[in-house]
């Protein structure tokens, strides 16, 4: 049975987890180019005022992602 991985939006504010892989190839291309790599530790800094966007930190790089984008990032437990 396949175990479901957590995705980035499930992280609480200031919680961190390691990224494993991406579910969408075209976004994967964009995210890796911006420094979000499988194996990287992602910190959820905070959620946006109206929800639906996330402020994350990866290797000292600060990024803003929409929830559709964040959902494609699978995390370890």
């Amino acid at each position: 049975m396949q175990r479901r991985h957590r995705t980035l939006p499930e992280l609480k504010a200031s919680e961190s987890a390691q990224a494993i892989s991406f579910t969408d190839p075209s976004l994967a291309c964009k995210l890796t180019a911006m420094g979000v790599l499988p194996g990287a530790i992602i910190e959820m800094v905070r959620k946006s005022p109206f929800g639906d966007a996330f402020y994350i930190k990866v290797d000292g790089i600060r990024l803003a992602l929409r929830s559709e984008e964040a959902q494609t990032i699978l995390l370890t437990d």
Partner: protein, 727 residues
């Protein structure tokens, strides 16, 4: 453009590339200063700057500042431009060599694009920027080892302090003079990629295997490919079952695997990233509750600076123009015909004023926006408001345009260049003019008390506020509709880097302001001059002897005792306007605007508002034979409370009746309907010209004109009917 700046054969073309936020534009400004020009890449509205400088031995350099990109697998129009040029060796902007600016504090992620470029076999210098910051953060780099492992020259620079720029220039000179063929390759293609690359090379003049691979990856949007070439690539990709997207991800990962050890070997950095000032500032500025309020506060400040800037500089422009007009009259009157003087003062100089009045506003707004961008705050605004604005087809950056539109749509629309996605930018451009700008205020001041003569100050203020609300609702509502109607193939991303907060680099800010103002003036002066001249012609000439007829009508009125002899001049001016083509036009469109409650005089007012909305007032002064008091009342307006202004005009308007029915023109129904019309109609030629310039086509300006006009017409009509029903 790029063609505009003449480039002779001997000029060395140097491309400046790098990730967004790498400090590339600071380096560009440091190297070229004021010797730069902004234009668009042919066919796309992506901005490109080209600057000039000279190498120590005299070689002239054209430095082309490409849009920031993360990789050669682009996701935005901006990034695509880079691939479009680098993949096509015969592109006029194809560089002889490249300077790659990388932020040394996050070197790893910058090396992706760098190694991709290396594989294209273009001589490239790696400029490690922000060496000052790196030093402060305890980051140490071994440049010799890095250079050896990457097989490319490495230079440390600090764009902000200008440190080591001479070394960079020297490296450019050395590389340009070098006789050794540049040979560097970084990435080993896998078998699938090799097969594709070879197949492409068999069909195309092959300059480089990686470039051949890029053709296959990007065949669907590269614009330099002919249909035949496109078909060939299609066949290759199909027969070889090439999985472009998966290969792109694969290639990216392999590259990372290759350069990560190099970075580890050559760069020493602290193992943990400390909590910095940026984190502490963001805890407040992007706070879930305070963040948006702080942003609205900042925007309110921006709005107020532009608004008061307009009040002050508008006065300067008025007095400068008055001085110019007077001077021209005294100079020309003795030597030339009356109509020539009139044309120069009311046609040419009016157009000149139409451009001049926006210059301080554009300068102020671009100064403030450049500052916010420079310090890194705009990215936070995008993060906070992305969701909200996306419901209305726009993105987080659009909120800046909408708020500045409250001062003036012209600089606001110029400011939309920061919006990356074309559809979101277009929607922002199309809806921004709905927001009530400062030019509408004088019109509201006249119309509100005329529409509701029996109401008090408090009600008037509420109606005034309702006009602003109406504009906001119209902007968001149309955004929502346009979002549903317009198709976009371009995927929209947020995925945005939030740069470290830093003090603004004043040279960048200053050059941005200069550039924006120069760009605006060169873009609008011709069409605006044309329109003002046309409007002058329409209101100065008419069928037959306009002046004679006006004189006669005025004399008849005075003889009949309708008017006093003392106002003869004003009366003649009024009749001249009535008998002119503009007057005829006003009467011709009367049947069209009659359902809204308007007469031909309002028709002329609406037509002349095309110069700028506040011209409605001065036109009305002429029509109501008040030309001589108009100037005095407009001047006195500054010292009066808002609803006390323009009193004699308001009195005359309130008394006026329709020609046919003898009923009062300015009933509450007409007044409110006209207010709605002024809130919603596109009546500003400068905005239309800027929309045309920014979208590249008249098509969008025309669409906007028709859309806003129809909406204004329908809603004004509904207002007229409803108020009549209630009253």
């Amino acid at each position: 453009m790029l063609g505009k700046m003449e480039r002779s054969e001997q000029v060395l073309k140097v491309g400046l590339i790098g990730n967004p936020n790498s400090g590339k534009s600071t380096v560009f400004n440091q190297l070229t200063g004021l010797r730069q020009k902004t234009g668009n890449f042919p066919g796309v509205t992506v901005e490109v700057k080209e600057g000039r400088f000279t190498l120590p031995k005299g070689q002239a350099v054209a430095l082309i500042d490409f849009p920031g990109a993360y990789s050669l697998y682009p996701t935005s129009t901006d990034e695509k431009v880079l691939v479009e040029v680098l993949a096509n060796t015969s592109d006029p902007n194809f560089p002889d060599l490249l300077v790659f600016v990388a932020d040394v504090t996050h070197l790893e992620k910058h090396l992706l694009l760098f190694t991709q470029v290396l594989d294209l076999n273009i001589p490239t210098i790696l400029a490690l920027n922000m060496s000052d910051v790196a030093e402060a953060e305890g980051i140490k780099v071994n440049p010799t080892r890095l250079s050896a492992q990457l097989q490319a020259p490495v230079v440390f620079i600090s764009g902000r302090t200008g440190e080591n720029l001479p070394q960079l220039i020297q490296a450019i000179e050395q590389l340009a003079e070098s006789r050794d063929p540049w040979k560097s390759s970084f990435y080993k293609m896998n078998n699938d990629e090799l097969r594709i690359s070879e197949a492409v090379c068999q069909n195309f003049a092959c300059t480089n295997p990686y470039r051949a691979l890029l053709l296959a990856h990007h065949k669907d949007w590269l614009r330099f490919l002919s249909p035949a070439e496109h078909a060939t690539l299609d066949t290759i990709v199909k027969t070889k079952q090439f999985q472009s997207l998966l290969q792109q991800v694969d290639e990216t990962m392999v590259r990372y695997d290759q350069f990560t050890p190099i970075v580890r070997d050559t760069v020493q950095q602290p193992s943990v990233f400390p909590v910095t000032a940026t984190d502490r500032i963001d805890a407040i500025l992007t706070h879930r509750i305070f963040g948006p309020f702080l942003f609205l506060g900042v925007m309110l400040l921006v709005f107020m600076v532009i608004f008061y800037g307009y009040e002050i500089t508008g006065g300067w422009v008025e007095s400068t123009m008055a001085w110019l007009i007077e001077g021209t009259e005294t100079l020309l009157q003795p030597v030339s015909a009356g109509w020539v003087v009139d044309f120069i003062t009311k046609g040419v100089l009016e157009g000149f004023k139409g451009v001049l009045v926006f210059v301080p506003q554009i300068a102020l707004l671009s100064l403030l926006i450049a500052l916010l961008e420079e310090v890194g705050y705009l990215a936070r605004a995008v993060f906070m408001f992305d969701k909200m604005m996306r419901r209305f087809g726009m993105n987080g950056r659009s909120i800046v345009a909408l708020i500045s539109g409250g001062a003036c749509a012209v600089p606001a629309i110029k400011g939309t260049r920061t919006i990356g996605n074309w559809k979101e930018r277009l929607i922002t451009i199309l809806v921004t003019p709905f927001i009530s700008c400062s030019a509408r205020i004088p019109v509201y001041m006249v119309l509100i008390p005329v529409a509701l003569p029996n109401a008090n100050w408090w009600v008037w203020a509420q109606v005034f506020g309702a006009m602003y609300l109406l504009g906001v609702l119209a902007a968001l509502g149309s955004g929502w509709i346009l979002n549903k109607v317009m198709k976009s193939r371009e995927a929209t991303f947020l995925a945005l880097e939030m740069p470290v907060y830093r003090a603004p680099h004043w040279k960048n800010v200053w050059l941005t302001v200069v550039d924006k103002v120069a760009n605006f003036v060169s873009g609008v002066w011709k069409p605006i001059l044309l329109i003002t001249s046309a409007l002058w012609f329409l209101s100065s000439f008419g069928p037959g002897d306009v002046a004679g007829k006006a004189e006669q009508s005025a004399a008849e009125d005075i003889e009949a005792g309708i008017a006093a002899d003392s106002v003869r001049g004003d009366l003649e001016a009024s009749y001249r306007l009535e008998y002119s083509w503009a007057g005829k036009l006003g009467k011709t469109i009367e049947p069209v605007i009659r359902p809204l409650g308007y007469d031909w005089k309002i028709g002329i007012g609406i037509l002349s508002s095309f110069l700028a909305r506040e011209v409605f007032n001065s036109t009305m002064y002429i029509i109501y034979s008040l030309e001589s008091v108009g100037a005095a009342e407009e001047e006195a307006a500054g010292d009066q409370s808002p609803f006390e202004r323009y009193s004699s005009l308001k009195d005359k308007m309130a008394m006026d009746t329709h020609r046919d029915s003898r009923e009062k023109i300015y009933t509450p129904a007409t007044g409110l309907s006209l207010l709605v019309f002024y809130a919603l109609a596109m009546q500003c030629m400068s905005t239309l010209v800027v929309v045309k310039n920014e979208t590249g086509r008249w098509r969008w300006a025309v669409l906007q004109f028709v859309f806003m006009g129809s909406l204004a017409y329908v809603l004004s009509w509904i207002t007229y009917m409803l108020v009549n029903l209630i009253a």
